[in-house]
């Protein structure tokens, strides 16, 4: 029997109701927000008036980048910002199918962003288009937490923060007794909750190192990815026991330099046939990762140094494999680059927390202060009165901060790397001992121009990014003899920048010019590249292309385009 007339029930005619239901169901499956449930809990007040981040009414716009999914978020946003005439703050950045989307407030900003369309080229030389449409208030703004809730959340977060480890434990945050007691539902999968949490971390613990988000039913990482801009110091991330089912989600976190990651207990872990494949997939995402799910990973293989720097090869005399040899040479280049730069604080990264350093100079039998090397004792207020006049040893400096503090006070120097004689005299996989003999010049102060000779011994352990971590450092400095002074710095040019070097054959000169034309690099840099690759033109070209793609070649290497 067909019903007549009585279909006028409370719900309006909704020919599309089936589809809407499907959509709602789909949202549930993906863990998307259940807006209807939310509305029941909160007052209507939220929908009126407070539609903006600062409480004033405003209009919102949705910005869409088709195919935005394939770009690295940081690159994309930086590119857009650099082409945009107005600074903007993206809200609720997320991906929908192939698109990247975010919201901005205010018509002027939206219009400026529209102008950026077709102005950015991706690496395949395709133009990126940007679509702008008016939109309703974005989710995290519409449902942002009340000030009292933010205050309570802040207290809870502070309680869960471990100062000594710079670690924040937000496991099962939803069930925190304090939050539950105050009727605050922190469902971190919801954009507004995640945004509030990140905001509090950014304001109160901006140096955060370790973040534990285990057991928070996270289905996606769009919300968390904002942390890359807000709290980039995070190195340890625990995402175990969540609902991440695609490794692609992790790509959103690539902007973090993670050392340690926990993923076990996520559906994505079960999608791999075996452990090595799983590890390999994760490492593709985070090449510098050291530990996954509590397991140490083999050290990452990072190719090449950051900038090509031209120095004459040091004289070496040691038994050691080529890899060790270049490790030590590279370390010395980097170390002395910073040491001579005028600000030695960069050396903090080279030393172990508990390293030791000592400095000795020979002193004349008379008052040590008369010695021209007295500058080297300037910062030692409690210098031991030497028992024997020829011995002058400072108290040992312990911990990297004391050491670098001590180094910063020593006279400014310029080392002659071509004078270095390096002895590697002990090596195991964990420890490397080597000594460097060489000369340097003092470049300022009352001893300006004096050439000194030094012997420096390092004990170091291999560090995470294929460099060395100094554990012991002993330095001995003396005046250089006249012969040493004469032969030092004989090639006049500073040794750590590209400079033209001994004469090249006709053939080589032609290669340099050709390479320079093809690569766009200046002649000296082209020459350096060819030299480094033993004048194998093809190989040099490959290395150049690889470095260029990794962005490792400094701008100054390239010829100015007139």
């Amino acid at each position: 029997m067909v019903r007549q007339g009585s279909c006028r029930d409370a719900t309006p005619h909704t020919p599309y109701s089936t589809r809407r239901d499907k959509r709602r169901v789909k949202r549930q499956r993906e863990g998307h927000i259940h807006i209807t449930v939310w509305r029941e809990r909160k007052t209507l007040r939220r929908e009126m008036g407070e539609n903006t981040q600062d409480g004033t009414p405003g209009s919102w716009f949705k910005i869409t980048i088709p195919y935005g999914r394939k770009y690295d978020k940081t690159w994309l946003m930086n590119s857009i910002q650099s082409h945009c005439s107005v600074p903007f703050t993206p809200v609720d950045f997320h991906y929908v199918k192939n698109q990247a989307r975010f919201f901005v407030q205010d018509a002027g900003t939206a219009s400026a962003l529209k102008d950026v369309s077709y102005k950015i080229w991706d690496e395949k030389n395709r133009k990126i288009s940007i679509f702008v449409n008016p939109s309703t208030v974005p989710y995290s703004v519409r449902y942002k937490l009340e000030p009292e809730e933010m205050e309570q959340l802040k207290l809870t977060i502070n309680k869960r923060y471990d100062v000594s480890q710079q670690a924040l434990d937000l496991q099962s945050l939803r069930f925190d007794p304090d939050l539950v007691g105050h009727d605050i539902d922190m469902i971190l999968n919801r954009r507004n909750c995640m945004a509030a949490t990140l905001q509090i971390i950014e304001e109160n613990h901006p140096e955060l190192l370790s973040l534990n988000l285990s057991n928070n039913k996270l289905y996606g990482l769009d919300g968390l990815s904002d942390i890359i801009q807000m709290v980039p110091t995070v190195r340890i991330l625990n995402l175990s026991k969540n609902e991440l089912n695609l490794v692609w989600e992790l790509n959103k976190m690539k902007g973090l330099d993670l050392e340690e990651l926990w993923l076990e207990g996520n559906p994505l872990c079960d999608t791999f046939p075996d452990q090595p494949t799983y590890i390999s997939a994760i490492k593709d995402c985070f090449p510098k990762l050291l530990r996954l799910d509590g397991q140490e990973l083999s050290p990452p293989v990072i190719t090449d140094t950051d900038t090509p720097c031209l120095i004459k090869p040091c004289k070496e005399s040691y038994k050691g494999s080529d890899a060790l040899k270049s490790l030590v040479l590279q370390f010395l280049q980097q170390y002395y680059l910073i040491y001579d730069s005028g600000d030695r604080r960069g050396l903090l990264d080279a030393y172990h927390e508990e390293a030791c350093f000592s400095l000795a100079i020979p002193s004349s039998p008379e008052d040590p202060a008369l010695s021209s090397l007295c500058e080297y004792f300037k910062e030692s207020r409690n210098m031991k009165k030497p028992k024997e006049p020829s011995l002058c040893v400072q108290p040992l400096k312990h911990t990297k901060h004391n050491i670098v503090g001590s180094l910063c006070v020593l006279p400014k120097t310029q080392h002659d790397l071509s004078s270095f004689l390096v002895d590697m005299w002990f090596q195991t996989e964990k420890v490397l001992c080597f000594s460097v003999n060489g000369v340097f010049k003092e470049v300022e102060g009352k001893s300006q121009g004096s050439v000194r000779a030094f012997t420096r011994t390092f004990i170091a352990t291999p560090a995470s990014n294929s460099s060395l971590c100094i554990v012991n450092d002993e330095l001995f400095v003396r005046d250089a003899t006249p012969t040493e002074t004469q032969s030092a710095f004989s090639n006049q040019e500073p040794t750590l920048t590209p400079s033209s070097v001994p004469t090249l054959s006709q053939e080589q000169q032609k290669m340099v010019h050709a390479f320079s034309t093809q690569s766009g690099m200046k002649l000296e840099w082209s020459q350096k590249c060819l030299q480094d690759n033993e004048w194998n033109y093809t190989r040099a070209g490959q290395v150049f292309t690889m470095l260029k793609n990794e962005g490792k070649i400094p701008e100054e290497a390239f010829k100015q385009i007139t």
């Binding site: 038994k319 030791c356 011995l391």
Partner: protein
């Protein structure tokens, strides 16, 4: 002596002992090395107590005398001691030469032995 850190005490006693042995009768130096010791002498490497003593004994000098200009000691994280010595030596009738030597000392069965020894002549005299 009590105010000096322990590694300095050990290091300087060792240095004193070493050069005394070296200058008087270097064939006795075997006592301070072990079979795992390694000597790097002017860039050449010698491994093991026997090889080291052989190298040192066979140096073409009859009379040798060391004088220490500076010495420096540091503890290492694995409880070893690294000692650096800079000084001058006179061999037979040759002119005085500067030298530089490093020792890595380890405590084995309550005695401090040298596990690594690195020696280099300084090519020029000290001022």
């Amino acid at each position: 002596m009590g105010d000096k850190p322990i590694w300095e005490q050990i290091g300087s006693s060792f240095i004193q002992h070493y050069y005394q042995l070296f200058d008087n009768d270097r064939t006795q130096l075997g006592a301070i090395y072990i079979d795992a010791s390694c000597l790097t002498w002017e860039g050449q490497q010698f491994q093991g107590k026997a090889a080291i003593v052989e190298k040192l004994s066979s140096l073409p000098v009859q009379k040798i005398q060391h004088s220490i200009t500076a010495q420096d000691h540091q503890p290492t994280p694995d409880s070893c001691i690294i000692s650096m010595v800079v000084g001058q030596l006179k061999a037979d009738e040759d002119p005085i030469m500067g030298f530089h030597q490093m020792f890595l000392l380890k405590n084995i069965n309550d005695a401090w032995v040298c596990t690594n020894d690195m020696f280099r002549l300084a090519l020029h005299n000290f001022g």
